[in-house]
């Protein structure tokens, strides 16, 4: 089995995809748009630096055309990518263009003989599913953040080749602007030692005050999952998750957060995770060191009282 890793520069997740490829055995090559990004020093068959003026800024049309041509040339049996927002934007198009299907957000790849099983999460992480691709190769999979370990990439030396795809100016239909940040963040959650984070289980805007009081009583910074910020109940800058901040405090106390994967990727590096949720099957308990199954409207007031006693 030959594997091609599509490497997104500047993303730690890309190294996880390289590690995944190496662990499958068989020759692994990597393709990257722009500079080789350190790939030349890894145990890889070949590194392809893709160059074209129309690829300077990301577009789905440009990237699809470039990778389509490289895949046609190399004919790998498996194409691995990190499941980043950029990959989510072009990879389904790329696979469709080549008449294939992408298995997205994969957490494990199990191979035995000729059989390859892709494991992915379903129903917001409540269940797992085993998938097989019945199509002929190349197979495509994007890999969930944190499912493989970047520090397990094997070092070595890899020859670097330049690949120049043919892309016509008219083929790129989108006109992308410069990436920007909305405002400088006033709240730096990444510096907090103790975070109390609130999710959907809080039900109403008025109830946020309860969790705010808990954070105060514990000397913690207040954070939230995406739906809370979407509703405008707390500012976006307090959001933890793939579209918000990635935090790794000493303690992360999740209150009424079910633990959708988009949230988990932003906090699972926390040293100790405590979860309070009414649903014992909520995915948040998968990453929790301590769990409280119960009604947060009963547990949180009791916690505030107890916290005041000890602090």
């Amino acid at each position: 089995m030959s594997t091609l890793v599509i490497f997104e520069r500047g993303r730690a997740m890309s190294w996880e995809a390289v590690a995944a490829g190496q662990q499958l055995g068989g020759p692994v090559s990597a393709a990257v748009i722009g500079g080789e990004g350190g790939l030349a020093g890894k145990k890889l068959d070949r590194v392809f630096k893709i160059r074209h003026p129309l690829l300077d800024r990301y577009t789905a049309d440009g990237y699809t055309a470039a990778f389509e041509q490289l895949i046609e040339k190399l004919r790998p049996s498996l194409v691995l990518m990190p499941h980043t927002y950029q990959v989510r934007d072009f990879a389904p198009k790329l696979a469709t263009r080549l008449g294939r299907v992408l298995v997205s957000d994969v957490i494990r790849i199990a191979r035995s003989g000729e059989r390859t099983v892709f494991v992915r999460q379903m129903f917001q992480g409540k269940l797992n599913a085993d998938y097989v691709v019945t199509d002929s190769p190349p197979w495509f999979a994007s890999l969930q953040a944190g499912a493989w370990r970047a520090d397990q990439v094997e070092a070595g030396t890899a020859p670097v080749e330049i690949f120049e795809p043919v892309i016509a100016e008219g083929a790129i239909r989108a006109r992308p602007g410069e990436p920007f940040r909305e405002s400088e963040r006033a709240v730096d959650l990444t510096a907090a030692d103790f975070i109390v984070s609130v999710g959907r289980g809080i039900k109403e805007r008025e109830n946020i005050a309860l969790v705010e009081e808990l954070a105060r009583a514990l000397g913690a910074e207040l954070a939230a999952s995406r739906p809370i910020c979407d509703n405008g109940w707390l500012p976006m800058e307090r959001q933890v998750g793939s579209s918000g901040q990635t935090v790794s405090p000493k303690v992360y106390l999740a209150v009424g957060i079910s633990g959708a994967i988009q949230h988990l990727v932003g906090m699972k590096g926390s040293k100790t995770v405590v979860a309070i949720n009414k649903d014992a099957n909520a995915p948040i308990f998968e990453v929790a060191d301590y769990g409280v199954v119960g009604d947060l409207f009963e547990v949180v007031p009791a916690l505030i009282e107890e916290a005041k006693k000890v602090r």
Binding site: A129, D130, A174, G177, V293, V299
Partner: protein
């Protein structure tokens, strides 16, 4: 502007899920359903664009007869009409198969703009919109937080990771996948619910759309995930749970 919004019905968020007899899907007995949440935001965005610029919003949904509940809700909120690809067993189709079904229905409608949620709460592939755009040969942008009309096309704000954004200009027709939280969802009014009853719901089948063929992706087994971490469950009445947890935070975790 003619806007088509692809919506999907999924099990309600709070559902307790159990594996069905086939081992390949959940047991749907007594399960309540609702619109896929990101699709609700896509629908709202479509309605707001129409309310600003005029035109028509067509809701497109592939699913069993029971999905008519979600379609009725979309009509009650203000969609002008709907297309229901009625398919009792949508699991016959894999991910590209469902996209082909939707593409066939879109071709008949020729919308200027197609909106859908960025991913579904059940499968969570996050791909259907992008595949649909490729099948239709139109440009797309994903994870969109704002949509503006320009002279000849649209200008959209795409969410990148870690608090970054980017504006992208696209010609029409185009497809956008909408991020949750882009707008404030409306409720259906009594008048809307009444009106929905008279609105057109066109029913189509996979056979009529000429979509079938073998699957490329097989879901072999569905199961509860293996617990990776040993979670210490704190038992007792809320007061006891609270006292124990504070004790742990103070003496074991040493965070207080």
């Amino acid at each position: 502007m003619k806007i088509l919004v692809a919506i999907k019905q999924v099990p309600s968020r709070d559902s307790q899920l159990s594996i069905g007899a086939s081992g390949r899907w959940i047991d749907t007995t007594d399960l309540t359903s609702e619109i896929n949440e990101p699709d609700a935001y896509a629908l709202e965005e479509a309605l707001q664009i129409r309310d600003r610029l005029g035109g028509e919003v067509v809701a497109l949904c592939a699913g069993p007869a029971s999905a008519s509940q979600t379609i009725r809700e979309a009509l009650a909120k203000g969609a002008d009409r709907a297309v229901h690809i009625e398919e009792e067993d949508l699991a016959r189709f894999d991910l590209p198969g469902v996209a082909r079904l939707l593409a066939a229905a879109c071709r008949a409608e020729q919308p200027d703009l197609i909106l859908t949620g960025l991913q579904s709460d059940d499968f969570g592939y996050g791909q259907t919109g992008v595949i649909l755009a490729e099948l239709l040969g139109i440009p797309h942008a994903t994870i969109i937080m704002q949509v503006e009309k320009t002279g000849s096309g649209i200008r959209v704000k795409r969410e990148l990771e870690d608090g970054w954004f980017q504006w992208i200009e696209l010609p029409l027709p185009a497809l956008l996948t909408i991020q949750s939280g882009i707008n404030k969802l409306r409720y259906a009014t009594l008048m809307g619910i009444k009106r929905a009853k008279t609105k057109e719901v066109r029913k189509l089948t996979a056979a009529e759309l000429g979509v079938g063929g073998p699957r490329a992706l097989e879901l072999e087994r569905l199961y509860a995930p293996h617990r990776g971490k040993q979670t210490v469950m704190i038992e007792g009445a809320p007061r006891e749970q609270a006292a124990k947890l504070i004790g742990i935070l103070k003496h074991e975790v040493r965070a207080l």
